[in-house]
């Protein structure tokens, strides 16, 4: 059950990234670009979550890597919101 939620999280995040990037290509709004970049990094973090907890559950704990990636994603989004949203 929980594995399905991890996989769905990963797929939903990837879909968000794709939709936002499509929106950026169409409208060229910079905020969409930074949001899409944030979600691409979050999608990677969620992919690592699937690898860590579903594919190789007994391997090395990647919690710190996942957290760092999510932190970078949020930094990217806040950069876009603060400096590029005017």
């Amino acid at each position: 059950m929980v594995q399905i939620v991890y996989i769905l999280c990963s797929l939903a995040c990837l879909l968000c990234a794709v939709l936002l990037m499509r929106g950026y290509k169409r409208s060229k709004h910079e905020l969409l670009f930074w949001s899409a970049t944030c979600f691409i990094i979050l999608a990677f973090a969620n992919f690592i979550l699937v690898v860590d907890l579903v594919l190789i559950p007994t391997g090395v704990d990647l919690l710190l890597w996942r957290s760092c990636m999510s932190l970078v994603a949020m930094c990217v989004l806040l950069y876009g919101l603060i400096f590029k949203s005017a």
């Binding site: 929980v2 939620v5 769905l8 999280c9 932190l71 949203s85």
Partner: protein, 86 residues
Amino acid sequence: MIVAAFISGAIAAMSFTAAAFFLRFWQKTKDRLFVYFAVAFLLLMVERIMRTVLDMENELAPLVYGVRLVAFLTIIVGIVDKNRVK
């Protein structure tokens, strides 16, 4: 893992900040997409706090990641809604 908890706290604070930005954009533009984004980032904040405070080895794990899934689905719904209105 105290470092992971610290990073989670930072991500939660950044998610809250992003949500506040999106709410301000909504106040300015009255574009519903920003409300969806604000709700999604508030949910991501709640998920981070829940995951750090609760013991993740118990049966609540799917619920916590379910909150993350709902956040991503909120953004997908928001983008679809935006395109439908156009």
